[in-house]
Amino acid sequence: MDATTFTAEQDKFREMAMEFARRDLNPGAKEREKLGKFFEEGWRKCAEFGIPGITMPEEYGGLGLDTMTAVATMEGLGYACRDSGLLFSLNSHIWTCESPINRFGTPGQRRRYLPGLISGELKGGHAMTEPEAGSDAFSMRCRAEKRGDRYLLNGSKTFITNAPIADLLLVFAVTDGSKGFAGISAFIVEKGFPGFSAGRPLETMGLRTCPLGEVFLEDCEVPEENRLGAEGSGAAIFNSEMEWERSCLFAAHLGAMEKILEECVEYARQRHQFGRAIGKCQSVSHKIADMKLRTELSRLMLHRVAGLKSAGRRAPLESAMAKLFISESYVQNAGDALQIHGAYGYSTEFDFERNLRDAIAGKIYSGTSEIQRNIIASFLGL
């Protein structure tokens, strides 16, 4: 692996994350994936390792480190961890719940929720997508009506990461139906609030160990003090979340791409057909050369956007471009790796087919590839 943009300390975090994943997260990963089983003990160990608190303030139990350190850690985990669902679950917890509470929360909200989210005692996520509002997220139907000192939330959400295991979710709902995207607000909803329920876990093609499910809100009572940010700031909170997620989560994809590339090079050197190493065939070596190119370009894009976020800069365009390029490159590289390994790649005995199934999710979550292109086009004035 080569990551020259990291400092020695950040590189150390990446190495430690790799060792940690091999030792504590990989045992039993294949069986869990087959069963679609969330790794509760792995979650606890990740929390002990400090992963949910890397960039969180020390006063709440976090490590108070910079964004690039979080990216380095995610790269290391993506490289070595075979439980991609657990990584996705953790990333959703961090970027769509913990991080927005830290940035938009009142001191009281931060005191109440951050220590538990950082220690891993609480699991979080966010609830945006609805059955009729996917890419057109702001056309949501879920309503929040003010009643005295509380809101009553009504509606349903679907494909919500961590919903079956979450202790709290950041729920987005319409508070003013006349204002479109500017009439949406965000609420911190605890699983014990009256009127809140989570549905059965949904089965998915990849990331199978990450619990995904529906959420039902039936006159769900949310105290006013649990509104995150001002009324109408839901879209800004959501956009900010997505920018952070696109800037950091995809480091795990980069790590996985690095690992896949190394495995392909090794295989192409060792595997002989027609009397020579298959790496001597241009049909294979050119494929691997393109995989290397996509991996290095992904690194440049990711580190650039993470650097911008680390410096406190806004990066909506850059994060959309990085997310689009990395997620599509990961699918391409995972598919090429499977092809290079032939029947071994197709076999469930090895990780190549799982990598491909996991990779495809990246083109859908955190805004589909099509939405990223919309963002890019919008910044071009189109």
Binding site: F181, A182, S233, S378, G381
Partner: protein
């Protein structure tokens, strides 16, 4: 205090309206009701304001009151420039 209404209006009318359409906005027109600023557009508007006026806008400041009309945007920019000193 400088009035930036015309500068901001020029950007919004020329760059944010649907391509190929000519719009004329009054300072009090609702940018949201007229569909000029949507969830993607607001990000582009913020990027423009940060670059044009050399201000940094926090995520917590992206609330409808600051972006509902051209007047509101101009007032917000004056506030930001005042705070910047």
């Amino acid at each position: 205090m400088t009035d930036y209404t015309d500068t901001i209006r020029s950007f919004i009318e020329n760059e944010m309206a649907a391509p190929g359409t000519k719009v004329t906005l009054s300072p009090s027109d609702s940018l949201i009701d007229k569909g000029i600023v949507d969830s993607l557009g607001v990000q582009r508007l913020i990027a423009y304001l940060e670059k044009e006026f050399g201000v940094q806008i926090a995520d917590t400041e992206i609330v409808p009151e600051h972006f509902e009309t051209i007047s509101a945007v101009a007032e917000f920019i004056n506030f930001k420039l005042g705070a910047k000193g």
